[in-house]
Symmetry: C2
Subunit: 233 residues, 2 copies
């Protein structure tokens, strides 16, 4: 078992380095995410290097090793499974989820992880819609369109539409989202505002209500090393 601190550093590095293509996280960014000073980060990076968790090029940045990524993904998996369990089974409210999961993710056992996974029916996404990595460290390849990464807009394909009412499907056809097309998410407004997407040669606004029911999948050539999603939660 690794310490809470080590797991939090690995999680932060994972999220930061997958946020942009480069794959390197800076000391300063890590310090900001974890709310510690840069000096503490520098020191920890050396310890993580010794443990074989990261490749650290001094003054350049860090990257996870496969070992480091394994632990980061395991921690993220536990966080998201916990949030799902707290929400679905124990009736936590939205705001109470994060802080509980953020701590417990470091202390539950493999068995606990397996038990809640089973109790939930092996979910692929948490209550925020974020993908839950598999036990083997693979991210599910579909996600809510509303969560598709906007900073690095990429083409996605509609993969699943859980509301199969005639009314809803009709509406999707009307605006040209069905039959399944490839599209690009251009811009998201905050606070459940609408999305702006590119459909072939034109743009289309999609309300959040609708967006919440559309699951997309990145186009195959855009997936690099299973690193699909990097939203925080």
């Amino acid at each position: 078992m690794y310490t809470e601190s080590v797991e939090n550093y690995l999680k932060a590095i994972y999220k930061l380095s997958s946020r942009q293509g480069g794959g390197y996280a800076s000391t300063k960014a890590i310090a900001e995410v974890l709310e510690v000073r840069s000096a503490s980060v520098s020191k920890m990076l050396q310890r993580l290097e010794k443990m074989g968790m990261v490749h650290h090029r001094s003054y350049q940045g860090v990257q996870l090793t496969s070992q480091g990524r394994r632990i980061a993904l395991r921690t993220i998996r536990r966080h998201r499974l916990l949030e799902t369990y707290l929400y679905e089974v124990l009736g936590y409210s939205w705001e109470q989820l994060h802080s509980e999961a953020e701590l417990l993710e470091h202390y539950i056992s493999d068995l606990f992880e397996a038990k809640i996974d089973e109790a939930l029916g092996f979910p692929t996404h948490d209550p925020h819609g974020d993908p839950i990595p598999s036990k083997e460290g693979k991210m599910p390849d579909i996600q809510h369109i509303a969560l598709a990464n906007v900073e690095v807009p990429g083409e996605v394909v509609i993969a699943r539409v859980p509301d199969s009412s005639a009314q809803f499907l009709c509406y999707l056809k009307e605006v040209g989202l069905l039959p399944k097309v490839s599209l690009k998410v251009l811009r998201k407004e905050p606070f459940n505002g609408p999305l702006l997407v590119v459909l072939g040669d034109r743009e289309q606004v999609i309300g959040r209500e609708v967006a919440g029911k559309i699951w997309v999948k990145k186009k195959r050539d855009l997936i690099d090393g299973g690193r699909i999603d990097e939203e925080n939660s």
Copy 2:
């Protein structure tokens, strides 16, 4: 929130000092329970004293303050609620219970405690039959006769008999355990062996099968400060 270490010391002191009437725990005994060296205990006791958790008379022993007892009981409550939840809801096996609860007891929130308490229907005893302290730090006053403290044999009264089949009640009457009488537990054999109890002027052997269905209550004048049970679990 207190550290895992602090909570474990308080739990150990609680259990040791209620194991015998005196109410003091020795440095050596604490060291043995926690599997650390005596020197480490001495140092921690000074820290706990400063925190207002214990009264420590050098070379004599320690006792919890009411503040210390509050934290110890809260930790024990969480441990036993967790074990009950893991067993009843998540389907843990007997042997898997302890280690998971032993760690998580330090990291769950008040809310988590309340949620699993509610999900279990506010249980008073864990799967081992050990009493679960209330949120206010009161031990339920009944327990399985099989768990009644043998080192300090005390008189107890039969308080509850959950198996109300005519057959079972008949048997209890036959051996003189019903209608409710006062009795004293003399000796327990290990490995689910029988109990030997004193009933008025004679002794009676009770098999574990039967014992498991008899709940007793200490006689009022034997209860000191709510400190009724001190089995480990």
